[in-house]
């Protein structure tokens, strides 16, 4: 990948851009560091410096369903919801991405619908979905209405990224598989999916992240039990404890574990692909 520097020494732009990158990461993690540090306060702790006491009190509070709010309950909904949204986003936007490689009746309409879905004011859209469920006599719940509301948010992202993924992908491989007599399913399983997997993982990450963070569209569609962002937002209307910071710290720690695993998987896939190409 490092084309510019392929001939040896780093150009001056490398140092400038490296500095910008490091600056950006510092900017990104600066306030996060506050969260990490402040989560290790004692029982008297608040949301800001100075530190009041030290210890794992707020982690205990978080895990034992603490004073205010029910974060663990919220996580027990937000995580499966994010995984569900991720899976559906991957499958649906993968399929739609394949579809959009050709013109089909209504493809323009669908594309503009995707754009409208992206730009629609989320809070109002959520109210509309809630109202619709009420009119149909269905119960709003995180795994029905909130799932749909979040998909209306993640699918446009998923599809647009899929466009890019398919744009990079050379269809000649698919044609070759066909010419060699592979059935469409075989082509998909043996050729298309493995080659596109890194891109698909990117969509999956996006789907998961967007769902886990979603607020505006979920607010009126979540039903009787809150997801994490709504629980936290409601908590901010009252005494807010560092247990939300403890959640941030735990999340980050866990994320790095997940990333380690993901990267390992990608490395493995790449090695396999290199193997395939050299055949």
């Amino acid at each position: 990948m490092a084309i510019v520097s392929a001939r040896g020494g780093r150009p001056w732009t490398f140092y400038v851009l490296a500095a910008i990158f490091v600056g950006y990461v510092a900017f990104l993690y600066g306030p996060m560091l506050c969260i990490y540090v402040l989560s290790f306060q004692g029982p008297q702790g608040g949301l800001t410096f100075p530190m009041r006491g030290a210890g794992l009190h707020w982690f205990n509070q978080l895990l034992s369903q603490g004073d205010t709010g029910d974060l663990i309950g919220a996580i027990s909904r937000s995580l499966p919801l994010a995984v569900l949204v991720m899976a559906i986003t991957v499958i649906v936007s993968f399929a739609a991405g394949m579809a959009f490689r050709a013109r089909f009746p209504g493809s323009n309409w669908l594309f503009y619908l995707v754009v409208a879905s992206l730009v629609a004011p989320g809070y109002v859209l959520g109210i509309g979905i809630g109202l619709m469920f009420q009119l149909l006599g269905w119960n709003t719940d995180w795994y029905t209405s909130a799932l749909g509301a979040q998909l209306s948010w993640t699918l446009p992202f998923g599809l647009l990224i899929m466009f890019a993924v398919f744009g990079r992908y050379d269809r000649a491989y698919e044609e070759a598989a066909r010419d060699l007599g592979a059935f469409p399913v075989q082509t998909l399983r043996l050729v298309v999916v493995p080659m596109l997997l890194p891109g698909v993982i990117a969509v999956a990450l996006f789907g998961f992240t967007l769902s886990y963070d979603e607020f505006a569209r979920t607010l009126q569609t979540v039903g009787s039990s809150n997801t994490v962002p709504i629980e936290i937002w409601s908590m901010t209307q009252n005494v807010t404890t560092p247990s939300i910071y403890a959640l941030g710290t735990l999340t980050t720690a866990l994320s790095f574990v997940v990333i380690g695993v993901s990267l390992g998987t990608i490395a493995l896939i790449q090695r396999r692909r290199v193997g395939m190409k050299s055949l």
């Binding site: 029982p43 008297q44 608040g46 949301l47 800001t48 009041r52 369903q65 004073d67 205010t68 709010g69 029910d70 109210i127 809630g130 109202l131 469920f133 009420q134 006599g137 119960n139 709003t140 607010l219 009126q220 039903g223 009787s224 039990s225 809150n226 709504i230 629980e231 937002w233 409601s234 908590m235 901010t236 209307q237 009252n238 005494v239 807010t240």
Partner: protein, 443 residues
């Protein structure tokens, strides 16, 4: 627990009076809970039938508290799910998805806008055991013969319905209510005594040039504008006919004054979240602001001096607190066993456990008499009666928050509540007001 035969609903399936059984079960449970917290003595059939019921109580986090729901579930034998939302999201939920809520937690003004939309059913007063012990501030709109302020929407004003299915709130005392008050307080201004240097007892100090760039008000249009009105009235700028229901001209004058103050740099911020108000005060970004009682406690907990101003009414009619009250309604879709359970739940709130719990947060129960039974004399004296603490005062989770000798700001709850100037509201000119408020914000 002995209720008249008239309001007992006969169960068709068992041939036993359902009210009696449920009532006894609850009574037994509560009685035992007082002593040991254990639950025994449920009639088995009923315990089986009601344990599958889940009541969904939805509202703001300072009113709908998980710990209270857990205790109620323990005492009553059915499930209670507590969902916290912000005020705006909650009322929107009640209106647009009434089926998704059983017990809506409403402020008086919210009850007033919810009733005409037909999402609530009237609560039968006769079936609320402690209703008569509820402070007359709520049930009769008066205290010790003195009328409580009717500026804004007082709980009394939003309370009574002529029938179960009524879609109109009516004046006077009737057999049905739209909501039952469960927690309330009187809001005023919080300030830093170390930075201000003198006791604050008047709203006009909020707009005093002495605190330019060091003042704040809260960013909820229909509450913020009343704090502004209280300050303007206190300053002598104008006298409102009803601060809780301004005319267009009054709204214009108030907002124009706010915009002028903003341009002069009076406000450091208008705050949105609880923590923001605490942070502004604790960090010294502001020295005086409209504030909620537990936020003052939170500032104190950091070892920073902060006082909740006692803005008692004056002979000239100026000053006074801004009162609010959250209560529980019954959604219209509730019926049968679930409705029975809901009534048990409403009744449970006045048995005292909840009253004691919210008191330790700095809020009040409308039935202080039962709350007293669940508090030590020291606690009751400190929280309700405004007496100096004789021992350490602890918060609901056991953390110490006041030393012996400490006195609560503002005195007894009666001192506060007989000094309410106006109540949280929604005005007739609401839309115009919100538009003007946003003009103030973007000015």
């Amino acid at each position: 627990m002995d209720r008249g035969k008239k309001d007992q609903v006969t169960s068709k399936t068992t041939g036993v009076t359902r009210r009696e059984l449920l009532g006894r079960a609850a009574a037994a449970a509560t009685g035992v809970a007082v002593g040991s917290g254990a639950i025994t003595g449920f009639p088995t059939i009923w315990a089986q039938e009601i344990k599958d019921i889940t009541l969904r109580h939805v509202g703001v986090s300072y009113s709908v508290v998980q710990a209270i729901g857990d205790q109620a579930a323990k005492d009553l034998g059915f499930k209670v799910s507590m969902q916290n939302l912000d005020t705006s999201t909650a009322i929107t939920r009640f209106i647009t998805q009434p089926q998704s809520v059983d017990i809506p937690d409403l402020e008086g003004w919210q009850a007033k806008v919810a009733v005409p939309r037909g999402i609530l059913q009237g609560i039968e007063v006769k079936r609320i055991k402690h209703f008569d012990e509820m402070l007359p501030i709520f049930t009769k709109g008066e205290y010790k013969g003195k009328k409580v302020s009717r500026q804004g929407i007082s709980p009394y004003e939003a309370m009574y319905l002529p029938s179960r299915d009524a879609k109109q709130i009516v004046e006077g005392v009737h057999d049905f209510v739209s909501f039952l008050p469960q927690v309330y307080n009187a809001d005023s201004i919080g300030y830093r005594p170390d930075l201000i240097g003198h006791p604050v007892t008047q709203w006009k100090e909020l707009f005093s040039p002495a605190y330019k760039g060091k003042a704040a008000i809260l960013d909820v249009p229909n509450i913020g504008i009343m704090d502004a009105a209280l300050a303007l009235e206190s300053r002598g700028d104008l006298v409102y006919k009803n601060k809780g229901n301004m005319t267009r001209a009054e709204i214009d004058k108030t907002i124009d004054a706010l915009i002028a103050l903003k341009k002069q740099g009076q406000f450091r911020a208008t705050w949105t979240t609880f923590e923001q108000s605490v942070e502004l005060m604790a960090a010294g970004e502001v020295e005086i602001q409209s504030m909620w009682s537990p936020a003052v406690t939170a500032v104190l907990a950091r070892g920073i001096p902060c006082i909740y101003a006692a803005v008692n009414q004056r002979p000239d009619g100026k000053e006074g607190y801004r009162g609010w009250c959250n209560g529980m309604g019954l959604m219209r879709h509730l019926k049968g066993k679930k409705l029975e359970a809901a009534y048990e739940y409403l009744n449970w709130y006045y048995e005292g456990w909840q009253g004691a719990f919210v008191a330790r947060h700095g809020y009040y129960s409308p039935v202080p008499a039962t709350a007293e039974k669940f508090m030590t004399p020291n606690e009751y004296g400190y929280w309700y009666l405004g007496k100096p603490a004789v021992d350490v005062i602890k918060d609901p989770y056991g953390a110490p928050i006041a030393k012996p000798g400490a006195v609560r700001d503002g005195g007894s709850f009666i001192e506060r509540f007989s000094n309410i100037s106006c109540w949280n509201t929604v005005m007739d000119e609401n839309q115009y007001m919100i538009q003007r408020w946003n003009e103030f914000k973007s000015a």
